[in-house]
């Protein structure tokens, strides 16, 4: 199995607050790796390090063996940000058309829009879309360049059950096609349904990781495991 993302002992502070405090993690191709953690645990900070928006103070981080932000690394990744991620006035069709032009062999824009039911609102400015519609556009944007590693930062937050199911099905298809998927979520059911590997992050460090079965063996449920490993005293 190919290691798509490798992080070892990452450390990064914002003033006195340690956002990453020795975080180590691996994500493999053809696997969904879920990051679970309370708000402020360091999940989004970690993704921002992997896309070179932030630079860790120490530790090792690589994307398919390349430095984050290098030409090689950024060609290989797709990103769905946690919120917005588009110009307020841009329409979905224009945004996706633009993103596709950054690649030599992108997914067909019409096909992506049809798959995620975006064509119904393809001409509506992004700022007028519902939260769920914006999420669909963001997911399409993350996948349009046929990435080998995709970061999905809370991909189903605010989605209705049908849209969530569509998103889950798509994530499984992407994973089965060989893409490494790293997603963050607060939804335990989502982590159980989708993940091949789960990492529970708290205060900038991975407190526990493994398959869902491994993590729930002692606690009975993923939620209990989450609560156990994110106790304030831990």
């Amino acid at each position: 199995m190919t290691i798509a993302l490798s992080a070892r002992d990452l450390r990064l502070s914002f003033g006195a607050r340690k956002a990453l405090d020795g975080l180590s993690l691996e994500a493999e191709s053809g696997r969904v790796t879920a990051l679970l953690g309370p708000n402020g645990a360091g999940k989004t900070t970690f993704i921002r390090c992997a896309t070179a928006l932030l630079t860790p103070e120490s530790g090792e981080l690589s994307v398919f063996g390349h430095a984050p932000g290098s030409n090689e690394a950024r060609n290989l990744v797709g990103l769905m940000p946690q919120a917005t991620g588009a110009w307020a006035a841009v329409t979905p069709s224009r945004l996706l058309g633009y993103l596709s032009r950054l690649y030599a062999d992108p997914q067909p824009v019409d096909g992506m829009m049809a798959l995620l039911d975006i064509d119904e609102f393809a001409g509506t400015p992004y700022r007028r879309l519902s939260g769920g519609q914006q999420q669909a556009v963001n997911l399409a944007g993350a996948l349009i360049g046929r990435p080998a590693l995709v970061f999905l930062d809370e991909p189903t937050a605010g989605l209705d059950p049908r849209a969530r199911k569509t998103t889950w099905d798509l994530i499984r298809r992407v994973r089965d096609a060989g893409v490494a998927v790293l997603l963050t979520t607060h939804n335990m059911q989502e982590a159980e349904e989708l993940s091949d590997h789960v990492a529970i992050v708290h205060k900038g460090r991975v407190r526990a990781h493994g398959r869902v079965g491994d993590l729930t063996r002692d606690t009975g449920s993923l939620e209990e495991a989450f609560l156990f490993h994110t106790e304030e005293t831990s």
């Binding site: 191709s29 921002r48 896309t51 070179a52 928006l53 932030l54 932000g69 030409n71 950024r74 060609n75 290989l76 990744v77 797709g78 990103l79 940000p81 946690q82 919120a83 917005t84 991620g85 588009a86 110009w87 307020a88 006035a89 841009v90 224009r94 633009y98 993103l99 032009r101 950054l102 690649y103 030599a104 062999d105 997914q107 067909p108 019409d110 096909g111 992506m112 049809a114 798959l115 963001n138 944007g141 996948l143 360049g145 046929r146 990435p147 080998a148 970061f151 298809r173 992407v174 096609a177 060989g178 893409v179």
Partner: protein, 252 residues
């Protein structure tokens, strides 16, 4: 349609990426009503109004026309860029694009290209209008070359200052500050010649990039060559680039 998600990430040629980004940014700016007023309607009004009123305030039309060119560079390089970048940062556009083949350098290069194209279009349109209204510049190759060099350096300084603002402040603060800076710059050498200002203020104002650009354009229009503004704008360009690099944050 059945899509195949097998990884096959191949970046487009760099030139195509930059053109795509520049076209997207320029299109968004030109579709924005407020930006269009700032970019075209306001300078055009100053130019046309000035044709008939400038003499009454002691500023000849031959000086006003090149001043208006400096005005659009000041507005596009600083205000337009700062405001659009500030909101891109707020809306995570920069975060998303940094994780594409475009990358941070491509984002900045595409922005620079879009602002350059918009400014070039503004100057061409305003110059044509000015010529129709009676502007008759003295064509001197050296003066034209110096004006071009100063224009590039001044735009570098303005964009550096705009990025420093957009990359470190809230977008609402950037919006207010960039507009105030725009208005403040107009009498500080952009529209008004330094010689029209009080004697005590002429030296400090002449050290501003706004005055360096305005004075150079007005001189070039007369066929005169000024060399000091090259040094002034070069110094501001380096200073602004250093500041932007130091304070710019890609996320809000």
């Amino acid at each position: 349609m059945s899509l195949d998600f097998t990884p096959r990430p191949v970046p487009a040629a760099r030139g195509r990426q930059l053109r795509a980004h520049a076209a997207m940014e320029a299109g968004l700016i030109l579709r924005n009503g407020e930006q269009l007023i700032l970019a075209l309607l306001f300078p055009m009004a100053v130019l046309i109004g000035g044709r008939y009123l400038a003499d009454r305030v002691g500023l000849g039309f031959q000086e006003l026309a090149p001043s208006v060119f400096a005005m659009v560079m000041w507005s596009s390089g600083l205000t337009t860029l700062a405001i659009s970048t500030g909101f891109e940062r707020r809306y995570n556009v920069l975060e998303r694009l940094a994780a594409t083949p475009l990358g941070k350098e491509g984002i900045l290069a595409g922005k620079g290209l879009s602002i350059a194209l918009i400014t070039l279009g503004q100057v061409v349109l305003l110059a044509a209008t000015a010529l129709l209204l009676g502007w008759r510049p003295v064509l001197d190759p050296l003066a034209g070359l110096v004006a071009l060099v100063v224009a590039v350096l001044a735009m570098g300084a303005f964009t550096g200052l705009g990025l420093a603002m957009a990359g470190s402040l809230r977008p609402e603060t950037t919006l207010a500050l960039a507009n105030v800076a725009y208005l403040a710059g107009l009498p500080l050498g952009v529209l008004l010649p330094v010689s029209a200002l009080p004697a005590w203020s002429q030296l400090p104002v002449s050290l501003l990039p706004t005055a360096a650009l305005g004075e150079t354009f007005r001189a070039a229009s007369r066929g005169d060559v000024l060399l000091v503004p090259i040094l002034v704008t070069a110094a501001w360009c380096v200073l602004a680039a250093w500041l932007a690099r130091k304070v710019f944050r890609w996320t809000s």
